[in-house]
């Protein structure tokens, strides 16, 4: 009897078709793990449904691959006997088949979703409420790719380079991982797509790039190619391979394709200007976010990416320096790549878990940094070995991003909830409190004074999620993350009287109306007691005034909902244009 395979291997193009082995060598393909499941045509699995329909051609490409034979899970695009992933003929053959593009998207999206589920220790839902997210690998002949919540879909376009060769955005790991991250993040924090301050839309973009970049480092062959290695990596028992010191200096790593996004698209659209984005090359300046050029969401998002990538380069090179060199040969290449994988995994885990510690509305970069530091301190209380948190804080600080002053502790983390004694638990069912949103809401409402939750709006618990961790004795335990939002419609006179916004923003009168949002995250410890309350108060006048002024200046004050598709589509379209 055949043993059931715990995971499935699928072949993908790693990183981006623009990443080549050597200067003009073959592309880098990889075989990655995705969850084991019996796939329907598409491929269609329990979280992703690929539909290969092309609106420009008004036709769909049939899915003709077999993904299983009985219980045996297959990789239909694995090299056949006598072929290697690096063979040009093999690569030409699979790239010419739209079914491979479909598989590439499916595998990268599942892998990206898996990163989140592993880091958080729980399933992550799509914000649409559906279980399967559509992926359309050749949606239209346009240089664009985006996530569309109302369509429950990721749509990938294609265009042509100067020689008329099609450039498929669905073949870029960077792009697929980026778009999938938009969808996952929207599932975790559905209000981050709403009009807010300058940071929130930028955060969506920056975070998507961070995940796309860091998720590559677990694929050794990709890292090797990105560092300019043309030889095959040694297998178990084979002699060591080496990498010279000049290839792993901070400058060399910054210049490498590994920290860029969309190499092929960038080259095809920008007349050879390189990757679509290479945020790590942004020169740190504490006032950089005040630049007018930094108002656009992708540009502003690049600042967070640059801060994170800067921390990563520092971490990786520090870990490499601890390895020691072999006389005249440089470093042990496998060890260098492993250190990169460890540093990336740590930062990726921090970044993903940070979302649990971020307020559900009107996020700013400083709050994300506080979330990062808090998430990591919760997971790894002792930071003394590599000093990751200090390094991250420093790197963000170089770009003027600091934890919210006055709201965080000496480590830059959110402080524990201080008014525990004022909370009343007696009217709540302890068992249901961390599992039932209505019971949880009852608790919040009962304790609204202690939690400083205003009655001047509509309050709703959006989600209750488990956060699993391991205690110092190695025993897993569960904490609970409650996400609640508040909404309210205020007139200018009420902004003055209730929110204490005085004077009103320029252009506002006492009759001007505005929708305000607020909300918070309440973290319950394993005993169901409030450990953190991280919130943006609905009637916090200072914050709301900043937001209203920003929306006014950007013509979004009266922006009406209902055009969620265009939100990412237009943003990405504009970016492709320059």
């Amino acid at each position: 009897m055949t043993e059931i395979q715990p995971v499935r291997k699928l072949t993908i193009i790693a990183k981006d078709p623009g990443l080549r082995i050597g200067n003009d060598g073959p592309m880098v393909f990889a075989q990655v793990d995705v969850p084991a499941e019996i796939l329907a045509p598409g491929p269609t699995g329990y979280r992703i449904k690929v539909v290969d329909y092309n609106a420009t051609e008004r036709r769909a490409y049939a899915a003709r691959q077999s993904y299983q034979s009985g219980d045996i899970l297959l990789d239909p695009f694995a090299p056949i006997e006598g072929e290697a992933l690096t063979d040009r003929d093999y690569q030409v053959r699979v790239i010419g088949n739209p079914n491979f593009h479909a598989q590439n998207c499916y595998a990268i999206a599942m892998r990206t979703l898996g990163l989140f589920e592993r880091a958080l220790g729980r399933r992550v839902s799509w914000s649409s409420g559906g279980h399967q997210l559509h992926i359309v690998p050749h949606a239209f002949a346009l240089a664009n790719a985006f996530y569309s919540e109302p369509d429950r879909a990721l749509m990938f376009g294609y265009f042509f380079d100067e020689e008329g060769k099609p450039i498929f955005t669905s073949l870029s790991h960077d792009v697929v991982a980026h778009e999938t991250t938009h969808a996952v993040l929207d599932g975790l924090r559905s209000r981050y797509t709403e009009a807010s301050g300058p940071d929130q839309a930028a955060f969506h973009e920056g975070f998507a790039d961070i995940v796309a970049i860091l998720s590559i480092f677990s694929l050794p062959e990709v890292v090797a190619a990105g560092l300019g290695i043309t030889d095959k990596l040694p297998g178990v028992g084979e002699p060591l391979a080496f990498i010279t010191e000049d290839k792993v200096t901070p400058a060399a790593i910054r210049d490498s394709i590994l920290l860029g996004i969309g190499a092929e698209i960038g080259m095809a659209t920008g007349a050879g200007r390189g990757a679509l984005r290479q945020s790590v090359k942004l020169e740190p300046r504490p006032d950089i976010l005040n630049d007018p050029d930094m108002a656009e969401a992708h540009s502003r998002g690049e600042v967070v990416v640059a801060a994170m990538a800067g921390a990563f380069v520092k971490m990786w090179t520090t870990r490499i320096s601890h390895l020691g060199t072999f006389d005249g040969l440089g470093y042990n290449m496998t060890a260098v790549i492993e250190e990169g994988a460890k540093a990336a995994a740590q930062l990726l885990q921090m970044s993903i878990r940070a979302i649990d510690y971020c307020p559900p509305t009107d996020l700013d970069f400083g709050q994300f940094l506080a979330g990062l530091l808090t998430a990591d301190r919760e997971l790894v209380p002792d930071d003394s070995r590599f000093g990751y948190r200090e390094l991250v804080r420093q790197s963000f600080g170089d770009f003027g991003i600091v934890p919210p002053p006055g709201q965080t502790d000496g480590d830059g983390c959110w402080p524990h909830f201080a008014a525990s004694d004022a909370l009343r638990y007696s009217r709540s069912n302890a068992e249901a409190l961390t599992r039932d949103v209505d019971e949880c809401f009852r608790f919040l409402w009962e304790n609204r004074d202690a939690l400083n939750i205003t009655e001047r709006g509509y309050t709703q618990v959006l989600s209750l999620d488990a956060s699993l961790r391991i205690d110092p004795d190695g025993i897993p335990f569960r904490e609970t993350i409650c996400q609640y939002v508040q909404m309210g419609h205020f007139f200018g006179s009420e902004l003055m009287a209730i929110c204490k916004i005085d004077p009103l923003p320029e252009g506002f009168t006492t009759r001007t109306s505005a929708d305000l949002f607020g909300g918070g995250v309440v973290v319950f410890d394993q005993y169901g007691r409030v450990k953190y309350h991280i919130g943006n108060g609905l009637i916090d006048g200072e914050r709301q005034k900043r937001r209203l002024e920003y929306l006014r200046d950007n013509g979004q004050l009266r922006a009406q909902g209902g055009d969620e598709r265009s939100r990412f589509a237009n943003l990405h379209l504009a970016r492709m244009g320059g």
């Binding site: 539909v51 240089a143 050029d293």
Partner: protein
């Protein structure tokens, strides 16, 4: 030398379009006539007015001779009236027959970079100029391809609610070759075509004595950071967009038995839209709509770029100032408003409402500068003139993109004396505004 004593502005019924005849009356009983734009993308159903009738009236009012023609930018709703007819009797032929002494257009229309024009840096002026112009040409082609696609059988899903809007914006941006050529040559020698930019010296004293004409826009590539950034990378983008839009407009792309993208695929390995497997249909409909939405996004973006090439002229005559900004939108205005010339706006007496009353063509920071705004009793109250037609351009009623934007119209009515071509009766040719310059 004679002094101007009156200014008469005739705002013609153009439906959705602009056509203004600005006539200065002088103290020696002479007059000078300036035609500012002449174009339409559609007349109201009930009007009896036609482009020919307007051209004839212009000829009548100016006594058979125009001094200056201003074409603020190349949109159809501003220049279609300049198109000539095959029989030599088109409205453009009439205007040509009035032998304007000068034609004023934005620098973007110049055959070569105008003298004194500033490129993004000292070394690449000519390249930048050529690249920008090539972008504009590609934008025309994108607009044409989009309209072709709308005309193609099964080009777009007929149920798409924004098809009319796409067609309108697309058609407005198609190159009007006849009008463009006519404008290039109607003033005779090439030197009589003047291509202007923010802050350039426009000396019209020989033709228009004792009237100072300030040029507030459009900015050059060097002057405007946003235009500069756009120009650096956009030429390649618009070329690609042109190719893609053209591809999508061809019949073959959907009519062929085989896929153009994957020519090696057997026809049995593809499904026509009408024969999609059930599990594909829900999302396929949405992909169609998403593609169409993006085409509208692209065409709207290029429409904005074209609008922002608008000439902004401020006529200063006697004690009065008359402002004609074409369809300039925020990006064009931003430069003028941050410049030394912004103070000129403080005491404007007549404002031609920008872009038919759209929201971001009348920036608040400009509107607030007008000191003569105020209630009916305000002395020397600001006059505003708007040529527009509701329901043609922009979003649904109440949407921030509707044109004209109702909150803006309300503000214009409350704080100025508004002359609106929409209020003209079906038989009326124009709104006439007379201003005493003394």
């Amino acid at each position: 030398m004679a002094n101007p004593v009156t200014a008469t502005i005739r705002a013609y019924q153009m439906g959705f379009g602009d056509c203004f005849l600005l006539s200065f009356g002088y103290d020696d009983a002479s007059a000078r006539h300036i035609l500012i734009d002449f174009g339409s993308t559609g007349m109201p159903d009930d009007t009896k007015v036609s482009l020919d009738a307007v051209a004839a009236d212009i000829a009548l009012q100016c006594g058979g001779a125009l001094d200056i023609v201003v074409a603020t930018h190349r949109h159809k709703d501003h220049i279609s009236g300049f198109a000539t007819g095959a029989d030599g009797k088109g409205s453009g032929d009439v205007i040509r027959g009035l032998k304007p002494k000068r034609v004023i257009q934005p620098w973007t229309e110049a055959p070569d970079a105008p003298k004194g024009w500033k490129g993004p840096d000292g070394t690449k002026r000519a390249n930048a100029f050529a690249a920008y112009q090539s972008s504009l040409e590609n934008m025309h082609a994108v607009a044409q391809a989009v309209v072709d696609r709308l005309d193609r059988k099964d080009g777009f899903d007929p149920r798409w609610r924004l098809a009319d809007r796409l067609r309108f914006v697309g058609e407005d941006n198609i190159k009007n070759l006849s009008a463009v050529k006519n404008l290039m040559t109607m003033a005779g020698a090439a030197k009589n075509n003047i291509f202007v930019y923010h802050g350039c010296v426009l000396d019209l004293s020989a033709i228009l004595p004792n009237v100072t004409v300030h040029v507030l826009g459009p900015p050059t590539l060097q002057q405007s950071a946003s235009i500069k950034t756009y120009a650096k990378s956009s030429d390649d983008y618009w070329l690609k967009a042109r190719l893609l839009a053209a591809l999508a407009a061809t019949d073959n792309v959907s009519a062929n038995k085989t896929s153009m993208l994957f020519p090696d695929l057997k026809s049995t390995d593809t499904f026509r839209k009408t024969k999609l497997p059930t599990e594909m249909r829900w999302v396929a409909e949405r992909v169609d709509i998403a593609e169409q939405d993006q085409m509208l996004g692209i065409v709207t973006a290029l429409d904005n770029v074209m609008n922002n090439t608008s000439v902004i002229l401020l006529f200063e005559a006697g004690t009065k100032k008359l402002l004609f900004p074409g369809d300039a939108q925020l990006e064009n205005w931003s430069y003028a408003l941050q410049s030394d010339m912004a103070d000129l706006l403080n005491d404007v007496d007549l404002y031609k409402v920008g872009h038919h009353g759209s929201l971001n063509a009348t920036p608040k920071s400009m509107w607030k500068r007008f000191k003569k705004r105020g209630k009916t009793s305000t002395p020397e109250r600001l006059k505003t003139v708007m040529s527009t037609m509701a329901g043609k351009h922009g979003g649904k009623n109440g949407a921030p993109t509707e044109v004209p934007r109702i909150p803006l119209v309300n503000e214009l009515k409350a704080d100025s004396t508004l002359f609106n071509t929409q209020d003209l009766k079906p038989t009326q040719l124009c709104q006439t505004i007379t201003i005493n310059l003394q």
